[in-house]
Every structure is written in C-alpha cells, then in structure tokens.
C-alpha cells in the first residue's frame, strides 16, 4: 500500500523554459497527472503548491486544468483546507487577483452557472 505524505511542490519545474507564465488548460491537466493529484485528493494530508517568485501570470485556464477536478471531488471548502497555493517570495496582488478569478470560475462551474443560463 502506498502511503502518501504531506506534499510541497514548487511549480517552477512545470512552467516551461523561458516562460514566466502558467497558462493553458491542457498544461494544467498535464501537471495534475504528473503530480498524481487524483490520488492526493483521497489522502487527508494537505498539499502545498508553491508559485515561483518571478511568475508574471497564473491564468484561470491553468488553475482550472490543474485544480478543478479536486474542487469538484472535495467541494470548495474542503479543497481550500487541503490545497494551499503559496508564493515563494512576496505576495503579488495581481496574481492573487488571478487566483480569485480562477476560484470564481470554478464555483460557477460547480453550480452550473454560465452566460447562457437564461436559455
């Protein structure tokens, strides 16, 4: 039986060469597979994902590719308790805003809210 331990991952390795942005749903999904987050969801230990210091953008598309299946599996509150996105260095407000944007879109998705909700 594999025993999963508390996990701390620096996302720098997944940002790509000569890149300072995290973007793209497929890229987020690839990182998710690589980190085996599906298996981590079932484990009670918290997961800390470290955003490297010189990151200029952490897009909602990447956020959703990486974390939406966990949000869906755990529910938003349990997800927030388990997964911690932390900054390596200072906390850039612009990227905090991008993370909030990813969370807003994930919540809408959970509730089935879309721009065509009136149809």
């Amino acid at each position: 039986m594999t025993v999963l331990q508390q996990m701390k991952v620096n996302l720098l390795n997944f940002r790509g060469t000569n890149s300072t942005t995290f973007t793209g749903r497929p890229q987020g999904q690839d990182v998710r597979k690589k980190l085996e987050l599906d298996a981590r969801d079932a484990d009670p230990e918290p997961v800390e994902l470290v955003i490297p210091s010189d990151t200029t953008s952490f897009n909602a598309s990447f956020y959703l590719g990486l974390l939406y299946p966990s949000i869906k599996a755990l529910g938003f509150d349990a997800f927030k308790e388990k997964y911690h996105l932390v900054f390596e260095d200072s906390t850039p407000k612009s990227i905090v805003r991008q993370l909030s944007e990813g969370e807003r879109q994930a919540k809408n998705e959970l509730q089935g809210l879309t721009g065509l909700g009136w149809l």
Binding site: N18, S19, T20, T21, S57, L64, Q105, N108, W118
Partner: protein, 462 residues
C-alpha cells in the same frame, strides 16, 4: 601454403580490366547527367507531399481559386478586415492563389493603398513563408524538374505611413525617408509562427512567446517614459496567454501565428514633454482551422443540449424580424456571440473538459482592462476584433462584458440583454468565410492613465 588476398586480387583485376569512367564516357557533362523527370503521377504525388498543412487546409476549404490567379495584384485602398472586409478578403484570396500558381513572378502594388492593418499583413506574410517552405521541399523532392521560385515584388504605396509599416515588417526592402516624418519610430516584434507542442512542459511555446511580446510592449512604452509595473505585466501576460490558448485550441493544423507593430508618432513625443506619453501597439494572433461556429456545428451531436438551446434562442431572437433585418443576423453570427459567453464551450460534454469555456471572456475582459485609455479627439480608440468564419465581433469601450451575478456576459447592446438583438456594427455578418480565427487589437498605452489606474487599484486594496 600461400595466402591469397581475394579482395585485393579482385580490386586489381577490376581496375586492370575496366576502362576508366572518363575514358569510356568522355568528360563529365552536367546536362547529360541531370536526373530524368519522374512519371507525371509520381511528380504529382511528390508535389502533393511538399504542400504545407496550411496550404492544404486553405485549398480544402475552397479558399483558393484558379480564377483569381494573376501576375499583378493591386492592393485595395484600405487593407483592413475591419474597415474594408470585402476587398481585403478578395485580395488575400487572390494573393495566396497567385503565389502558388502564377506563371512567372508576382507583383503586388501598394501604390493605391493608404491604410494597412496588421491582420491581413500577418496572413500574407505567413503564406509567403509557407510558399517558400513548399518551394524548397519541392526542389529536393523533384530535383530534375524545372522549378523556379515565384518572386514576390512589392511596389511601395504613395502613403508614407503605409510604407513605414511595410518596411518595419520587411515587406519593403528599402524606404525613402520623408521630410517631416510624423513617425519617430515604427518597430515590430516580428512574425512569430509556433506549433502546438505538448510532449513536455518545456516545449510549450505560449509562455516564451508571451514573454517576448510583453518585453516588446515594455520596450515600446519605455520610449514614452514609463514601464509596465508588476500589475501591468500580469495584465498583459494574462490577456496574451489566454488569446494564445484560444488560438492553439482552435487550430486544426496545430500552428498559430503572431505579429505586432508599435507606432510612435511626433504628437506622442510632444505629449511626453507634458508627462503624457502614449504609444500605439497593434497585435494580431491567427490560427487556421475551423471557425467558432463550425466548431459548434461539428460537435452538435455530443453537445446537443447547449446546441439545441442556442438554436431555440436564435429562433426566438429573430422571430418576427423583417427579412432584410433577419439576413443581417445569421445563425452563424448569433451562435458566435453566444459562444463567447462565460462557461460556454463546444466540447464541454467531454470528460476533462467540464470547466472549459471561460477563455474568450477572460481575454475580452483583460483586453478592456488594458485598453481602457481612449482619446477620441486624437483618434486614439482601442479596438479588438475577432474574425472567425463569416462573423466579426468588435469590442471597444462602448459595449463591455457585464456581471450578471457571478457570471460575465457580453450582449453587444446598450440594454445589456442577450435576449435582445446586438448592435450590427459590433456583430457583423461578412460576405466571405475566413478559414480560421484572427484576433486583432489596437491598444494605446498612456503613462498617466496607467499610473492613475494602478494607484487607484492599490489604494482600494490597501
């Protein structure tokens, strides 16, 4: 026993018995030894293998037309999909058809052209690069055939601004400097063509291209006395990378293209002395493949719940409209507008695609965050156009995405109501089908505006 070296024996014998090649056949004659042409069918097969993916796609979509092949092409007075779609579209069709099939060289005359946009130039330059790739491959595949590159000669415009832009994009090799040149500088980020690569994170090119374009924009704004703050960099990166995600997702040939120029005019320079420097940046991002509407049509079976709802909504929206007005709002146009709404995606029904459908609204909102500086008196109006298939969606500060609860919508009408008809100036039906999607933007970066905006944001958060 004597050992016999059979190999040496054979070499000696063959040398002594066989006359030398020169003695037997005379001096080497390159003409005599040109390889013969393969059979017609084989030549056609090999030529077909040399065509690039984008050429094949355009051909299969009926974009190329033998009747449009000419050796001299006159560029329309406005080369712009936004300002002059019909003529620009016909010109690009004729250009691409001609470059491959013209008998001899091709002359492209800009003399009547007084305005150019970056999107048609990106399309043309991409196709020229593609043509040369094809021609080089063909030379290798069919070495004996009498091939010749069709050389493309561009004749300059009478309008200096056009020539400066063409020169900066290396379409014109030289330019005569004009007295009282209104431009201090026209620079370019170049033409970038990249492929979708997903084998490893490090191979993905969206990040490096974002970096390159953002650094370019930063260098542009430095010329007018400021630089992007961390917030500004995040806004540019966030917008660009969402656009590139979209281009990569919708490209049928896994390729996407980017071009950009910045214009720095004298009146901008005068403004710098008043601490109000402005610089104009024009960018175009293109992918070839299916349009937004074609994507929905193709997945209509799997995505039937959303597709049927959109079809019903379209019927209701256009119910009772007079015929001519109904023709102005085709099913394709309205579906394209619906497709831009948050949380709407053609492949949402697929596994792992649940949270899709936010990218387009993300980049429209990010664009309007960057491009909210406007000065109509000096004709500085930011604009973003999305050209896809037979539809063009325009975004500026007139109609913006609005929040309805926690969801963002874009209705393109003053009522902010998707149940009402959009403004036909902002959702345009087009007479020709563009085989893919081009996103084109005009942005103005103003020093004071930027500083005030981010100071306000920081104060609000503080």
């Amino acid at each position: 026993m004597k050992k016999v070296d059979y190999y040496r024996e054979y070499v000696y014998r063959s040398k002594s018995l066989k006359p030398s090649r020169t003695k037997e056949r005379g001096a080497y004659n390159p003409e005599k030894y040109q390889p013969s042409l393969p059979f017609k069918e084989l030549a056609a097969y090999r030529t077909e293998q040399c065509y690039t993916k984008s050429y094949k796609l355009l051909r299969d979509k009926g974009f190329l037309n033998d009747d449009l092949v000419k050796d001299k092409l006159m560029v329309p007075h406005k080369l712009s999909f936004i300002e002059n779609f019909q003529e620009t579209f016909e010109f690009t069709k004729s250009f691409i058809s001609s470059i491959y099939d013209v008998n001899g060289d091709l002359e492209v005359d800009f003399s009547r052209c007084s305005y150019v946009d970056i999107a048609p130039l990106l399309f043309i330059c991409t196709m020229i690069q593609d043509y040369f790739k094809f021609a080089e491959k063909r030379l290798i595949a069919l070495p004996g055939a009498a091939h010749k590159y069709a050389e493309v000669k561009f004749l300059p415009s009478k309008t200096y601004e056009v020539n400066r832009i063409l020169y900066s994009l290396r379409i014109l090799p030289t330019i005569e400097r004009q007295e009282n040149d209104k431009f201090l500088d026209v620079s370019t980020v170049g033409m970038i063509a990249e492929k979708k690569a997903r084998r490893h994170f490090s191979e993905n090119k969206k990040g490096p291209v974002c970096n390159k374009v953002r650094r370019y924009i930063n260098n542009c704004v430095k010329k007018v006395g400021f630089m992007l703050s961390a917030d500004g960099e995040t806004a540019v990166d966030g917008w660009l990378s969402e656009v590139l995600n979209n281009a990569e997702d919708h490209s049928r040939i896994d390729e996407w293209y980017v071009a950009g120029i910045s214009l720095h005019t004298r009146d901008f320079q005068e403004a710098i002395s008043k601490q109000d420097g402005v610089i104009e940046v024009r960018l175009a991002i293109m992918n070839l493949g299916f349009s937004v509407y074609e994507g929905f049509e193709e997945s209509s079976e799997g995505n039937h719940r959303v597709y049927d709802a959109m079809a019903n909504a379209y019927d209701k929206l256009t119910e009772g409209l007079p015929t001519d007005e109904k023709q102005a709002y085709t099913r394709e146009n309205i579906f394209t507008l619906y497709a831009l709404q948050e949380g709407v995606s053609r492949i949402k029904y697929l596994e792992d695609s649940e949270s899709r459908g936010n990218g387009t609204m993300n980049f429209i909102r990010a664009f309007l965050e960057l491009g909210d500086y406007e000065d109509s008196s000096l004709n500085r109006k930011p604009l973003m156009s999305l050209l896809s298939g037979k539809t063009m969606v325009l975004c500026d500060n007139t109609y913006k995405p609005y929040a309805d609860g926690t969801v963002y919508k874009l209705s393109l009408n003053s009522e902010n109501d998707l149940k009402k008809l959009p403004d036909p100036e902002y959702l345009r039906g087009l007479p020709g089908h563009f085989p893919g999607t081009i996103l084109e933007t005009r942005l103005f970066f103003n020093k004071n505006h930027f500083l005030q905006k981010y100071d306000r944001a920081t104060a609000n958060e503080g």
